[in-house]
């Protein structure tokens, strides 16, 4: 690709890490093919690629978990053989994992020193360790309490503990693996500040991500890999998200989802004065009113924890409503059991696909009939007809482009994007009057996101109602026909995405513009 170049304009850079022409195969499957990544001192370098493009493989090679078949690794200009993670640690490479490796009922300090305990006279010197952790925390502006228990602190704080862990071990190069996937927008902002603080203290950072916005905001350069192949490295200042996306996916990607004007008809879902309690018995949804019409997509937008989860659980029957009514096509479905809700014509793409959406140990084919298994032709006089089940599965796998070796592959073995496509296929195939899509694109790459958005809009165009819950403002703005802002368990405003701005939504979500009139 002509417009991809290597770190133009900077001469004689000091590279702290160079991975040159790395190749890694697994039983004939090429996970990395001729990938080159050069990390300059003091930069934030993004490693961009779709799910399954080979980002993790490359980092595992750097971390000594895999040995490359070809290529060379240099640290500070010297060729090295990284045979195991300890060696990587010794070379000053630290990894902040996506899934935290923390002991829940240990304190912050105990977690940080784990495996590397300072001893005095046969005892662990916790006091000294605490002092050092506190110093490091202050130096980088992490604001972590060394004596707090992991189970008592937020996810964002836990991530900082992971960062401290690498710093405590003397890391000069930090690898962040999808660090923002689990964070709230506020925590993301703070993380970005922390990363900048790390850079100003002379550290270098590799950021593994598929979120283009973050790259544009914090990174200096970005290395793109696609299907295992190194595509090249570009300066962030000389590129834009569209270009990055096309490099990553290998074709043009539209961010602005194409859609025609909505043609809303009658109300499909009517919610009146709905009150729902959270597991602790505290009201999470408080007298909420909402209408969703046939042929439109309503986007629910709000800061996490304002009753979104409880609202959806109440509609789908997973949680009992404490008050109010939910009506579907004029029929009262308040506090129906999940099966009756499903049978009434509701499809539900759940927030957590591993927890609710799939039985991971079942084959992907069998998962395709998770709600309909008891109906003909899948079940007949008490016996399953797996032939019919797999026939159906094959059809959906093809239709929704689920990439799986076969329909009998365990759901667990599929990538997140393909698991999600399978769920969406299953839910849309039942052709529900109301489709609830809760964070349908969480953790997915742009290619899959585009596909899913198209499907939601298709559903709308077929005259169905769609309720979209998302924490990505871009997604809400792009896909919805109307946006309902939820704050403290109430819909505080319903706005037209074409007439509103992210700033206005932000204010509404924060509850500071409560009572704004509906301008739809």
């Amino acid at each position: 690709m002509e417009d991809v170049y290597l770190h133009k304009g900077v001469k004689n850079v000091d590279y702290v890490i160079e991975m040159l022409g790395i190749r890694k195969e697994f039983n004939g499957f090429v996970a990395n093919d001729d990938v080159t990544l050069q990390l300059a001192k003091g930069e934030i370098h993004a490693l961009l690629g779709e799910n399954g493009a080979g980002k993790s493989t490359l980092m595992n090679v750097l971390f000594g978990l895999y040995q490359p078949e070809a290529g060379e690794i240099k640290v500070n200009g010297k060729p090295v053989h990284i045979t195991d993670p300890n060696k990587a640690n010794d070379l000053g490479i630290g990894m902040v994992h996506q899934h935290f490796m923390l002991v829940d009922n240990f304190t912050v300090t105990e977690n940080i020193i784990l495996g590397n305990e300072p001893k005095s006279g046969g005892k662990i010197d916790v006091k000294q360790a605490e002092k050092k952790v506190r110093e490091l925390s202050e130096q980088y502006g992490l604001a972590v309490d060394p004596t707090a228990k992991i189970s008592d602190i937020s996810v964002g704080m836990q991530q900082r503990v992971e960062i401290l862990k690498t710093l405590y071990r003397g890391a000069e190069i930090l690898i962040f693996d999808e660090p923002t996937a689990v964070l709230t927008p506020q925590e993301i902002k703070e993380l970005i500040q922390i990363m900048r603080a790390l850079i100003s203290e002379g550290k270098s950072i590799i950021l593994i991500t598929h979120k283009l916005k973050e790259i544009m905001e914090v990174c200096d350069r970005v290395t793109v890999i696609r299907k295992g192949k190194g595509i090249g490295t570009v300066n962030v200042s000389e590129t834009d998200p569209n270009h990055l996306a096309s490099l990553m996916v290998g074709r043009e990607v539209t961010f602005k989802t194409e859609k025609t004007e909505a043609m809303p008809a009658q109300n499909v879902l009517e919610i009146r004065d709905l009150t729902v309690n959270d597991p602790r018995g505290v009201a999470a949804v408080r007298g909420l009113n909402l209408d969703v019409r046939a042929g439109e997509i309503i986007g629910i937008c709000g800061v996490d924890g304002n009753g979104q989860t409880e609202l959806i659980e109440a509609i789908t029957g997973l949680r009992k409503a404490a008050g109010g009514t939910i009506t579907l096509n004029g029929k009262d479905i308040t506090s129906f059991k999940p099966r009756k809700v499903t049978e009434s014509g509701v499809g539900h793409i759940p927030q957590d696909r591993h927890k609710h959406g799939l039985v991971l140990d079942y084959s992907i084919g069998v998962n395709m009939v998770l709600q309909t298994y008891y109906q003909k032709p899948y079940s007949k006089s008490g016996f399953m007809n797996y032939k019919e089940v797999y026939k159906k599965a094959k059809k959906l796998i093809k239709e929704f482009d689920v990439r799986t070796p076969s329909e009998t592959t365990p759901a667990r073995a599929l990538s997140g994007g393909n698991q999600q496509k399978a769920i969406i296929g299953r839910e849309i195939d039942r052709n529900p009057d109301l489709l609830i899509a809760a964070q349908p694109t969480r953790g997915l790459d742009v290619g899959a996101i585009e596909f899913i958005h198209r499907r939601l809009i298709e559903q709308r165009d077929n005259g169905k109602a769609v309720l979209l819950l998302s924490f990505e403002l871009d997604e809400i703005m792009n896909v919805s026909d109307r946006i309902a802002v939820i704050y403290e368990g109430e819909i505080v405003a319903v706005v037209d995405p074409k007439k509103t701005t992210e700033q206005e939504l932000g204010l509404l979500m924060a509850g500071s513009k409560k009572g704004v009139s509906e301008h739809v």
Partner: protein, 348 residues
Amino acid sequence: MSKKWTAFAVPVVSVLLGLFAGAIIMLISGNNPAAGYAALWNGAFGDLFYTGETLRQMTPYVFAGLAVAFAFRTGLFNIGVEGQLLVGWLASVWVGVAFELPKIIHLPLAILAGALAGAVWGFIPGFLKARLRVHEVIVTIMMNYTALHVTNHLIRNVISDGSDATDAIKETASLRSPFLENITDFSSLHNGIYLAAIAALIMWLMLEKTTLGYELRAVGYNQQASEYAGMSVNRNIILSMVISGAFAGIGGAMQGLGTFGNMFINSGFSGIGFDGIAVALLGGNTAIGVVLAALLFGSLKVGSLNMPLESGIPNELVEIVIALIIFFVASSYMITWLLGRFKKKEAK
């Protein structure tokens, strides 16, 4: 390495390793392992009589193993098979003693009573788990002791007048089979062995082929997803414990209607229910695996009786071998790793 192959290879290798380690222990204790294992083999399959005894011993193991495996496959750990087996035993014997009926009704009724008693004993922990989230392991352990003492009390004070055993069951309720006794040189092999085979088939059908099995396994794998899909998690938990308990109860009926023809005061647990856990583990919680593992356990138990007679080696040694086999199955990761290394070398 294919998954199926591993599932088969791990238990087989475990058994071989267990026998090998047993041989080393025999050597250390100054015995001849060859003579020891020859005596074990002769005691289990040496002639028709011993083979019959082995198959007879295997019968309750199949049921106990199926009970544990069924619960396990649906996400529950039924430690209470021992207790369910005891109440099933007593219930079947009681029907066998108390009624006067034609065989075609009496025998099925007695077996059904055993199944029902076991099911009730399984229902209680299932219900407590579903309603109050009490862990089934705790409840089933307690239910084992309850079963032991309740059956002892009933035998001594209700069914008999202070005697140590019930009366013998009526001929019409008996599983005894002159045919099987004849062809096995008058061993105590009875018709229960057929029922064991049928039970294994039923368990396989139920889990793999029926709609109920689809639901039960889904709940076992992922309760949240099952609830999301509209299944009743609580109903399935109870049902799973009831079915598991029924298997165990029939296992008890095999003892009462087949092997012993009565029930007697037990000073302690029969051990069959607990061995059932080992059988299920060794059999990979599958129906066919349980049958094979039960055969192994039956032959080890029966064969071991011959070891002191023929080779002078104490039969407790077989207990050690069994323990070692379980140890190796439980450390299956190690065996998978070993097999992997082995395969790699072959490839080179």
